[in-house]
């Protein structure tokens, strides 16, 4: 694993050797700062990924000692031609839409509210973070009951306002079910992402606020022209985390629908899990992992380059 990097290190070492002592010192210091993180990530995150990548080119049933047979790109072909896979990608895409259209504005709005001079922000902070503190299991359980078409609150509410005919089995109807999960997901993570935005908003120095006031730039105008641009980095961070999170979405989907019925609400991560650990198709499962990884990287890089051109 590290062997392929050896020549690189060697070259790097030689390069450094020829620089001034001062350069060397600060170079090494920076290296030291970043080294523990890099090492841990390489060992526990990257090595498994390389393993998975290799498995994705093979066929293995996950049993220790069982033969690992080379199949080349066959797993990828099977995955990319599978209707179930594309349905799961669609579901992940719904997650992303939900993330950017619903979650982002709400989380940012919450962040603005809790960092403002309003009264009771402490209470609001706590309330908004409540869903994610309950944990995915409890949240999943609760919303599953809420959406029960017999005794769930939504059904009873619809009956009460005389629109009983609008009641369907939300969690069992394709497309409706994934959107329910997406919305519950946004509901749960609004407070979580509020924290990220709040940190960015809070970092804006007071004198910026003062200057804005002097210029007569207040309210919505201020938000659009001052707060948002100054939080650009946090938006970028949110976007990357959102995209990767949506591609990896597993817990809330599993808790609410188990990916069903008939894998209609499955996200790629759910397919990865069932195909790997329940159907024992480790190669197929690996191919899905790698596709997700590559897709995530491509999307994030694109996002960085296109939307947030100034990166350094």
């Amino acid at each position: 694993m590290g062997c392929s990097a050896c020549p690189l290190f060697l070259l790097g070492g030689i390069f450094v050797f020829f620089k001034s002592a001062k350069y060397r010192k600060s170079f090494l210091k920076s290296l030291l700062f970043v080294l523990p993180g890099v090492l841990i990530t390489l060992i526990f995150v990257i090595y498994p990924v390389l393993n998975t990548a290799w498995l994705s080119l093979n066929s293995w049933n996950g049993i220790g000692g069982a033969p690992v047979t080379w199949v080349g790109l066959q797993n990828y072909v099977k995955t990319l031609t599978s209707a179930k896979f594309w349905n799961s990608m669609l579901n992940a895409f719904y997650f992303m839409i939900g993330g950017f259209v619903v979650l982002m504005p709400i989380a940012f709005g919450m962040a603005l509210l809790v960092t403002s001079k309003m009264k009771g922000t402490k209470f609001f902070k706590a309330a908004y973070l409540m869903p994610v503190m309950l944990g995915t299991t409890a949240v999943g359980l609760m919303w599953t009951f809420l959406l029960n078409s017999n005794f769930g609150v939504l059904a009873q509410f619809l009956k009460a306002i005389g629109h009983g005919e609008w009641i369907i089995n939300w969690l069992a109807t394709p497309t409706v079910n994934i959107w329910c999960v997406v919305l519950v997901n946004e509901w749960m993570y609004a407070g979580y992402n509020m924290l990220i935005f709040a940190a960015g908003i809070v970092a804006i120095p007071d004198d910026v606020h003062d200057a804005a006031l002097l210029d007569g730039c207040t309210g919505i105008k201020k938000i659009i022209y001052i707060t948002v641009p100054l939080c650009k980095n946090m938006f970028m961070v949110f976007s990357t985390l959102c995209i990767t999170g949506c591609l990896k979405a597993f817990d809330i989907v599993w808790a609410m629908t188990n990916g069903g019925p008939m894998d209609s609400s499955a996200t790629p991560a759910v397919l990865l899990y069932t195909q790997g650990f329940q159907y024992k198709l480790m190669g197929r499962s690996g191919s899905i992992s790698i596709i997700l990884l590559v897709l995530g990287l491509v999307l994030s890089i694109l996002l960085n380059q296109i939307i947030f051109k100034e990166k350094d």
Partner: protein
């Protein structure tokens, strides 16, 4: 004059309304959980949102018995706090260097961490178990904390880097002129200013460490070391689920998290940077 005052009143009224509405929407599941924790299984399954007919207090001692609640909560706290400390210690310097220095390899490192955020957890299970068996770390919290850190580092470095990049470079330049080395700049100048993002990341890591299930399931088999999420499984027997005590357990496990959150979020307050640049 009058007009703008009414406008202001309306605006702030609208703000309060939205804020309260969102709070209600997010608060009500807590109320439901609380009520359900006092009901019997039958009552819950057949009517989730009604007031309990009989206040069944036995769910709490039952939860404590089934999940060894206090021990599980204690374990989760320990793991979450340890993960948080290790993550911050490793992530902060890395983020500083990536955000402020311009060595070429740092771009590669950033790329590495970006990749780290994208890895779906399940595909790493088999490899991590292999490493664990090879090192003989069965039931070791140290190993599990290391894994948790590994999977949180990427996000932490991301957050910290983004935040530091948004800070004015004038701060460290001023410090450099005063003769401060990198370490001093990091610890004495940037860390205090980074309190908001540190507190934020602390909460995020805490939530992760508290509710993580997949790794703790595989790596920890000694039931004295179970964390909350693992102990929660005990409420689902082979063919039925004990909902009442499960909800009681959820309430109990939420309390320490609430406390920690309230303590930490004090730090995320506006005005932290007043006068920072002027020094």
């Amino acid at each position: 004059m009058k007009k703008s005052k009414t406008m202001k009143g309306l605006k702030s009224g609208a703000m309060y309304f939205i804020a309260i509405f969102m709070a209600v929407v997010t608060f009500f599941p807590l109320v439901v959980t609380l009520l359900s924790s006092f009901k019997t299984n039958e009552e819950i399954l057949l009517g989730m949102f009604s007031w309990p007919k009989v206040w069944n207090f036995s769910n709490y001692p039952e939860a404590i018995r089934i999940a060894s609640a206090f021990r599980a909560i204690g374990n989760s706290l320990l793991v979450a706090i340890a993960t948080l400390i290790v993550t911050v210690i490793i992530a902060m310097p890395a983020a500083y260097v990536i955000a402020r220095k311009s060595y070429k390899y740092l771009k590669g490192c950033y790329f590495l961490f970006m990749a780290g955020v994208m890895v779906p957890v399940h595909c790493t299970l088999v490899s991590v178990t292999k490493i664990s068996s090879a090192l003989g770390t069965k039931n070791s919290y140290v190993f599990m904390i290391l894994i948790y850190t590994a999977f949180n580092l990427s996000q932490a470095i991301f957050l910290f880097t983004g935040y530091i990049q948004g800070l004015d470079k004038g701060l460290d330049e001023a410090a450099k002129i005063d003769g401060c080395g990198d370490l001093r700049i990091l610890v004495q100048i940037l860390m205090p200013i980074c309190k908001p993002i540190l507190a934020t990341e602390a909460i995020l890591v805490f939530i992760y460490g508290y509710s993580e299930l997949i790794f703790s399931l595989i790596l920890i088999t000694d039931n004295a070391k179970y964390t909350i999420s693992r102990a929660m499984l005990n409420f689902t027997s082979n063919f039925t689920t004990d909902y009442g005590p499960q909800f009681a357990f959820v309430i109990m496990s939420m309390i320490p998290m609430m406390i920690i959150y309230l303590l930490l979020h004090e730090k995320v307050e506006a005005g932290m940077l007043a006068g920072a640049v002027k020094g």
